[in-house]
């Protein structure tokens, strides 16, 4: 705020940038800040093929549930990443959402910059994000291993801000498209229609969930990670190297986040600042399912996605972003251990 600039209200980055501004997405005019819910994104199928007004309430609800399952699939993947890192380190990783952003952005960028085919670009996206995840662990989390909860929260928020800034410098502020994996022809499902990409999102969620189950039940690394989550000290006594397992969990969390970002990108486009809200929603999903519970993360994500779609569709689309957090607070107050959680959670 330079001299004399502060006097008159201005649009753009001017007003309100006076205090604690850094890290916030720049103040953008209404039309860009709040895209009409059905104009793009997950509700595109609803808008394009019969307005909800033409449908019966039941059909509408079914349509919202299908759309919600798509968003919910993404939330589930992000929540899975949260749970992985939380189990290994006890850290709530606020940078998880940036893995989602990185996955989508690297894929989009390597398609336009190097002309890679989609599948190869997606692999590059996952690989780059995984490396970033491991670096984040080694460079920022490990040196602060024994710090308090609040300090670790600030460190991961710092990492998230840093990654977002880096992305805006490398790829610019514009939205980037990723082509749909298999066309846009809508598929009718019991009276509602969804895009093939929605099926990709749900499929990716399912495959990732199964892959996680296989890793944690049937591989040595997975079992070692579980051992560390149950009792880090005892695991170390058994010869499991804790720091390596933590790196593994960051790598897996980053890869899962990247997958979520890549399958979501054709639906919503991708941009340097998509990570924060997705990350926070994924976090709500993780809490909803019971923090640190893998299956809970999947269930929590899907439930949250459906609730959000129903709330936005039937109650108010304006307050869509608040719904997840209202659900979160309700769950925390009524059943802090989450839907599937066993222990008593955070309450007295």
């Amino acid at each position: 705020m330079r001299l004399g600039e502060g006097a008159a209200p201005r649009t753009g980055n001017g007003p309100g940038r006076g205090l604690c501004h850094i890290g916030d997405p720049p103040h953008v005019p209404e039309s860009r800040a709040e895209p009409p819910t059905r104009g793009r994104g997950l509700f595109v199928s609803t808008g394009a093929h019969g307005e909800p007004a033409d449908m019966t309430l039941l059909e509408q609800v079914w349509q919202f549930i299908l759309s919600g399952m798509t968003t919910g699939g993404t939330y589930a993947l992000i929540a899975l990443g949260f749970s992985l890192v939380y189990n290994a380190t006890g850290v709530i990783n606020f940078a998880q959402g940036e893995f989602v952003m990185l996955g989508g952005m690297v894929t989009a960028a390597s398609m336009t910059a190097w002309g890679l085919p989609l599948w190869l670009a997606a692999l590059v996206g996952i690989a780059v994000t995984t490396v970033v995840g491991v670096i984040l662990d080694r460079a920022a989390i490990r040196p602060a291993r024994n710090a308090s909860v609040v300090v670790l929260i600030i460190i991961t928020v710092g990492a998230s801000i840093f990654l977002r800034g880096l992305a805006s410098i490398i790829w610019g502020p514009d939205e980037r498209p990723v082509p749909a994996f298999s066309g846009n022809a809508p598929i009718a499902v019991l009276g509602a229609s969804i895009t093939p990409q929605s099926l990709w999102v749900m499929g990716a969620t399912l495959v990732t969930a199964i892959a996680m189950w296989v890793i944690f039940e049937h591989t040595v690394v997975g079992k070692a990670m579980r051992a560390c989550a149950i009792n880090a000290h005892a695991a170390q006594l058994c010869g499991i190297e804790l720091s390596r397992m933590v790196s593994w969990s960051f790598a897996l969390a980053a890869a899962i986040g990247a997958i979520a970002g890549i399958v979501l990108a054709p639906i919503t486009m991708t941009q340097y600042n998509v990570g924060t809200m997705l990350g926070l929603k994924g976090f709500c999903a993780a809490m909803l399912g019971g923090l640190g519970n893998g299956l809970g993360a999947i269930v929590g994500g899907l439930v949250l996605g459906v609730l959000e779609a129903l709330g936005a569709g039937l109650v108010s689309s304006q307050y869509k972003d608040a719904i997840a957090f209202i659900v979160l607070i309700a769950v925390l107050l009524i059943r802090p251990s989450g839907i599937l959680g066993g222990d008593t959670g955070g309450e007295d």
């Binding site: 006097a7 309100g16 006076g18 205090l19 604690c20 501004h21 850094i22 609040v150 840093f162 972003d321």
Partner: protein
């Protein structure tokens, strides 16, 4: 001992504010005065949060909500309904405290991550409401036309930033003194007992639930006052951006980086964070890269905060000097 410490503390506070009062005599650049006004506002925010975090031992990741409720209540009442800024300030204070009480009563039963998440949720819900109730708040396009603060019938206008500087810092002074007295009082000691061990405090007869909610409401009231002062500051325009998640985090950083549970920690924190933000402001995009890096770096290097890092560095230096003296004496 305690009495001596309190007297020393009083002198420190007095000295600090005399120093601040002299600043406009030396600094004539209005930009610096403007920045110092924001240091003052951040200091109020940080001091309030410090009471909750450093003394009552509770985390809040959503305190920008109270800052926002204070600012918008003041802004709407004065700009839209033509109220005088002073009753509007009182109304804002009451509204914020009421919301804080309603939110705090159920959520403060939670601990650790769960409390952090609940407060984070509250913060985001409030920022979504501010953004979406555009008939009242102006939504994303903002709320213009907030009148200047008045004092004894005189307007503290933009052209006289120095007056507003003194006005804001008078509030900072008042609220710091209130804070210092509060933490040394019986309720303050109860809060600190709560910070160390909730169970122990409970067994000693401290009504922990009530004290936690009180600390929460008071810290929200601090944020509300900062919000009112912000609404009437030189911009006199409100947009939803400064009342979101990242301001809550910035407040958290000021308290933790400065050193929670100390009188001067949040002061240092507010100065450092405001300073960093102002220095970085001209560098678009790079500002958030460097800010993010600095957050990580500072918290890794000084997880206990600057005040403690300085204190331990100081004692290391004095130790070494003492040892060297002793060493040379032996020879």
């Amino acid at each position: 001992m305690a009495a001596r410490r309190r007297r020393a503390q009083k002198l420190q506070i007095l000295g600090f504010f005399v120093l601040v009062a002299l600043v406009p005599l030396a600094v004539h650049n209005r930009y610096y005065i403007h920045v110092l006004i924001f240091v003052g506002l951040n200091l109020i925010l940080a001091t309030g949060l410090n009471l909750l975090m450093g003394y009552a031992g509770q985390v809040s990741l959503g305190h920008a909500a109270f800052f926002g409720i204070g600012a918008y209540t003041s802004g709407i009442l004065t700009a839209t309904y033509g109220w005088n800024p002073w009753p509007a300030m009182v109304a804002a204070l009451l509204a914020t405290s009421a919301v804080a009480w309603l939110v705090g009563r159920p959520t403060l039963r939670l601990h650790g991550h769960y409390l952090a998440m609940a407060t984070l949720g509250v913060g985001i819900i409030v920022s979504v409401v501010i953004r979406q109730t555009s008939s009242l708040t102006g939504g994303s396009s903002g709320l213009p036309g907030i009148p200047a603060m008045t004092l004894f019938g005189r307007e503290l206008t933009t052209s006289m930033d120095v007056h507003y500087f003194y006005f804001v810092w008078a509030w900072v002074c008042l609220l710091t003194v209130v804070f210092a007295n509060l933490v040394e009082s019986r309720p303050g000691r109860a809060l600190r007992a709560l910070h160390d061990s909730e169970l122990a405090a409970e067994t000693l007869g401290v009504d922990t639930a009530t004290f936690k909610v009180r600390a929460f409401v008071i810290s929200a009231a601090y944020a509300s006052i900062a919000g009112t002062l912000y609404a009437h500051s030189s911009m006199r325009f409100l947009s939803p951006t400064p009342f979101g998640f990242h301001t809550s985090i910035a407040m958290l950083v000021m308290v933790v980086l400065g050193g929670q549970g100390t009188l001067w920690g949040p002061v240092l924190g507010a100065i450092i964070i405001t300073g960093i933000q102002e220095v970085l402001r001209p560098y678009t995009n790079w500002d958030i890269v460097v800010y993010g890096l600095l957050l990580m770096f500072m918290m890794i290097v000084m997880p206990g905060g600057v005040t403690r890092a300085l204190a331990s560095a100081w004692s290391a230096v004095t130790d070494r000097i003492a040892r060297r003296r002793r060493g040379s004496g032996d020879e």
